[in-house]
Structure formats: C-alpha cells, structure tokens
C-alpha cells in the first residue's frame, strides 16, 4: 500500500492524526495507511481493503445549511478526505452573503446556495462527490436522513436544530434493558455562531445529551413590550419595531409582512425614520432595520472558520476513532481576548426525544380504552386520566370537553390499528401520575411493541455483531 502515500505537504496534518497511535484514541482505532485511504484521492476500492476502510469510503455525511458555517464545513470536510457529502439548504444566494460565504461569487446571486456550494467545492477538491439538495429540511422524507452516517449542522435557528435533532433521535432504538442499539445511533455535530461567539457540540443520541435535553439553557429572546413601542420609544430599535409590528398592520390590514421582500423592508424603514424624527431619536438606518426585523446578528467570517474547523475535526474523530470526541459542548468567545471552554452537559434521562421511554408490550387486540386503563395500573407510570399522542396524531385527549368529544370514537378502536399497524413505535402519554403519594402532572414517552404483529416479532433479531 505504499502507493497510497500522498505527498507529505497535502495531508501532513491529517497524517499526524491518522497514521500514529496515541493515548487518546478510541478502542477501535487502527492507525495506518488503511485509515488514510479515507483521506487519499484513490477512487479504486481494492479487494485487499478491510471492511473498515470500505466502510469509511462508503461513509455518507450530510451537511445541513450552506450559509456561513455550511460553506466552511463543506470545504473542511472535503479537504479532510470525506468523499461522499450531501448538502441541504432552502435559501438562494444574496449579495450580502458574499463577504463571508466564500464559495459564492457575484454572478451566483439568486442561485440556490446548496447547488453552488457543492459545485465550487467539487471544482477545487478532486475525488469528492457532493450532492446538493435545494429544499426545506422539513420537506425531505424521514428516510432521507437515515441514509447518512453523520449529520453536521451549520444552522442559525433553534427551530431547525430542534427539527433535525428530533429526526435523528427518531431513528434511535433501545434494547429491552434500555441500552441504545449502536446501529441505530445517528451522531450529529452541531456548530453555531453569533458575532464573535460560537459553539461546537457533539450529539450522540442515546449516549450524550441531545438538543432537547438542554434546550432550557437558551436565553430567552429579547422582546420589547408593545406599549413601550406604541407610547414611549427610547431607541432606534423601538422605532423600527413600532413600524414593523404595529404600523404595518394598521396600514396594510391583513397583508402579512415578508422580511425577504425589499419593498416591505423599505416601507418599515421609512416609517421608522418618521417615528424616530417625531421623538428625536437618532440611529435608524436601513441595515439596522434589517437587523432588528430579521433578528440578525452580524456574522464574522473568522468565527465561522474556527467553529467549522472544530466541527469538521469532531466529525473526523467520530468516523476514524483517531481521538476522543469533544465531551461534549465547546464554547468559543473571541470578542474580548479569546476564551474557549468545554463543558460536559448531562443527559436528561426522561428526555421525551432521546430517552428510552418505558417499554410496553401489548396484544394487537388491545383497545385504546384498555390501554389507557393499563397505564393507571402500570407500576412505573400510575398514570390516571391519560391522553395519548402518536407522532402528529393525537389519539385521545381527556380535556377540554370539545376535544374529548372529537377523540372519543377512538376509544373502542384497537391501538394497533390507530398506530397504523406498525410492529413497534413511540407514543407519548400525559396525565396525572402518582409519585411518592403525590399527584403530579406528567408527560412520558412509551415504546409500544405489539406481540405477534407482522414483521420482526422478536426484539432481539436486529441486535448482535
């Protein structure tokens, strides 16, 4: 395999990680040229390669977002030797992206980010295959996400992270003793930046905390009281929000405001200027208007580069085992001096998204009513007056009366039918639970398995290595 040796200059830094053993390497790490095949430009899969290398070569990574972080991530992963990448982004390139989203040029404005980003990286890095998806993340089938070994996130919203986290954790399955099954784990590497601040985190569902486990750590968004906007504006942002939230509806009635419509933005800006003049407030500019209305925090290219590098390195570590992964949340602050810190977040064992939930085995004939009665008797639940939800469908609601009435016909149907005749799936139940002799409001995840249903009846068949 001597011919695998690439010129030293090109992969020197990767060689240090992949060709040498070390004290921090994972238990399954085999240093050497086989791992290096991952980073080589070879397109032949030799029969002499071990399963290990073939797996690395067929590894697929999804990059979510092709913006400031996404551009960096794609480039970093490609240069680290990842050969099969997909990138998904619903946006088109805007002229204001060009200062930091370096894969884009002026003539690309208006084109889909994912497509141009994929094209540019493939032009510059030989051997890499990048499939672009110009699409909303919610519009892809859930199975689409199951095609990837790792999902790297370069997103800018809690909502999108929460969605992908839910999807990835949805693939996770647990054994009967509540240990996660390795083959169903879909690791995520999440990056985020705001100005000079950023974070990188590794989420291994079932092993490290998922996004939902720690969602309460997010600071609340700053919102101004409406009456302040209407009566006592004190700064430029108050004037802009007045025009955006109050004046727009007063003048345009039912027409909803579209922040991506330049005419709408100009109108809000003009109104904000008038208001600022009225109250003698300085500082309303067009770019501040955009910033306040779209909640934009200026993006700094170097922060993106640093966070992306951390994310790409973590992705490489998860794949190769060449070192321990970040445990599990890195914060970076380059605003005043430079400060980075790694914090180990802990899992919420009762997390409704990544937690194992409580395993319940049922006959396919059990009706919803019977199931609800069983929850009251179940020693781990003692849940009375339970409402039941399966995916997007609510199967039963105890209250309010209008909803109870709408769901009542379900009670006599079999749960198996109501859940679409699947052999096993997750449901959520909520109601009043008896804990330490006290009644408490409770929301719990259940893994329902139907005995004797079609398909794989035995939970154990998919386990083992």
């Amino acid at each position: 395999m001597a011919d695998l040796e690439a010129p030293q200059s090109k992969s020197r830094d990767l060689d240090k990680l992949l060709l040498r053993a070390g004290n921090l390497v994972g238990p399954d790490f085999y240093p050497g040229t086989e791992v290096k095949a991952l980073i080589s430009q070879l397109s032949i899969v030799s029969s002499s390669f071990s399963d290990f290398v073939i797996r690395l070569l067929s590894l697929r990574v999804l990059v979510v977002g092709a913006g400031g972080l996404g551009c960096e991530l794609l480039k970093d992963l490609a240069l680290s030797g990842f050969r099969n990448l997909d990138v998904i982004d619903m946006d088109r390139i805007e002229v204001t992206n060009l200062n930091r989203q370096f894969l884009f040029r002026l003539e690309d404005v208006g084109k889909p980010k994912a497509e141009i980003a994929a094209k540019r990286v493939m032009e510059r890095v030989s051997g890499v295959e990048i499939v672009p998806h110009f699409s909303r993340i919610e519009d892809k089938e859930l199975e689409f996400y199951n095609n990837f070994n790792i999902i790297a996130l370069g997103l800018d919203s809690i909502e999108a992270r929460r969605y992908i986290n839910g999807v990835a954790c949805g693939f996770l399955e647990y054994d009967e003793d509540d240990t996660p099954r390795r083959e169903t784990i879909k690791p995520m590497v999440d990056g985020g930046t705001e100005g000079f601040k950023g974070h990188a985190r590794v989420i291994v569902p079932g092993v490290t905390p998922c996004f939902e486990c720690t969602i309460w750590l997010f600071p609340p968004q700053v919102k101004f009281p409406l009456c302040t906007l209407a009566e006592t504006p004190r700064n430029a942002a108050h004037c802009i929000e007045y025009a955006h939230l109050i004046k727009w509806h007063e003048v345009h009635g039912g027409k909803s405001f579209d922040p991506d419509e330049p005419e709408h933005m100009k109108w809000v800006y003009d109104e904000a200027v008038k208001r600022a003049e009225l109250f003698g407030i300085p500082g309303v500019t067009y770019s501040l208007t955009q910033g306040v209305v779209k909640n934009i925090i200026p993006a700094i290219a170097s922060t993106n580069a640093i966070i992306s590098a951390a994310c790409a390195l973590e992705t490489l570590k998860i794949v190769s085992g060449c070192s321990k992964t970040l445990a599990n949340y890195l914060t970076y602050n380059g605003g005043e001096g430079l400060h980075t810190k790694v914090t180990e977040f802990v899992r919420d064992k009762d997390c409704l998204v990544c937690g194992p939930g409580i395993l319940i085995e049922l006959d396919t004939s059990v009706t919803l009513q019977k199931f609800i009665d069983m929850l009251e008797e179940h020693p781990k639940l003692l849940l009375s007056k339970a409402s039941v939800k399966h995916g997007k469908d609510s199967l039963y609601m105890q209250a309010p009366p209008v909803l109870e009435e709408m769901h009542r016909p379900n009670l006599s149907k079999s749960l198996y039918d109501l859940m679409g005749r699947v052999q096993k799936d997750t449901v959520h139940v909520f109601g009043t639970a008896l804990k330490n002799e006290e009644k408490q409001s409770s929301l719990t995840k259940l893994r329902v398995v139907f005995k004797g249903a079609d398909g794989v009846a035995d939970m154990d068949t998919a386990i083992g290595a």
């Binding site: 399963d51 290990f52 690395l56 859930l142 839910g166 009456c227 109050i246 409704l352 998204v353």
Partner: protein, 184 residues
Amino acid sequence: MIGLFKVKEKQREQAQNANRGGASVKKQSAGELRLHKDISELNLPSSCAISFPNGKDDLMNFEVSIKPDDGYYHNGTFVFTFQVSPVYPHEAPKVKCKTKVYHPNIDLEGNVCLNILREDWKPVLNINTVIYGLFHLFTEPNSEDPLNHEAAQVLRDNPKLFETNVRRAMTGGYVGQTFFPRCI
C-alpha cells in the same frame, strides 16, 4: 466510535425495515407535544372557552373567548386567536384579539399589551397562564401601559366617561370616530 459502522449490512437493513413503519408517521415537534399537554391540563373559569376552528388535527391554532363576569367589560364576549409555533414554549404564543374592543391595552388592530406575551414570557408559563392574563386585562384595564392611547387617557382622567364609552362600544356604536361592532 467506529463501532457505529461495524454492524453488518444485513442487520442494518433489518433495523431500517423495522423502523420504516414508525418513520412514515409525520414528525411531531417537541413543542407540539408540550402544547397538547398544556391544553389537556387547562383549568379555565366558566367565563372562558376554547375552540379549535381547524378541528382536532390542528391544535397549534385555536381561539379563546372570554366573557368577563365583572368590571367595565361585564357580559361582553371577546375572542382571541392563538398561534403557537413549533418552538413553543421557547417562544410565547402569538395572541391577537379578534373582537374590536375599546380598551387601553388592546389596539384597534387586535394587538395586545400583556407582559407575559412578550418581554416577560418564560417557558415555565403555559397557555393557562396566558388566558388568565388576558382575563385580567378585562377586570383590571391598565392605563399605565397604553396601546390605545385615547382609551387610556380617558380611563386615567375620567373613569365615568370611560365606563360609558366601553358600554357604547360593546353595544355596537361609535366612540369618537371609531365604530365598534356589538359584542354583548
């Protein structure tokens, strides 16, 4: 960690097959789950009622009608629309008043000035607390936080006139230049 990829292809396929049934179910958001719980635990006074214009499959958009049993707005019926985002409870529900009302804290477009809907929203709050907050606006209209400037001024300077104006608006009529449809 490479162990993640060591499982034989066959087992991987099996896992996928077993999972397929579940995966075809539309993904719910964690916010939706919390909202359903909030709704099932509503504990409303008889003067408040909730309804779901889009039926049982859309609980993220609903209406709450409030019929104050005391104070200036006694016997009026005021309908609020609630829009709950998937990010709930990280973000407050968006609440608008559908009924045109002469009120210091609600403007003529239906914007509501209630602290817990904006600057003081916390994820520990819930739909019940918001409804009680709205209810409170009718028993204790507040001239300090005006959204309808004129109404606030009248309430502050001449409560008797304010009472007359509220009555006139609720029975369907003009207050100044503005017409209010009947809501009693």
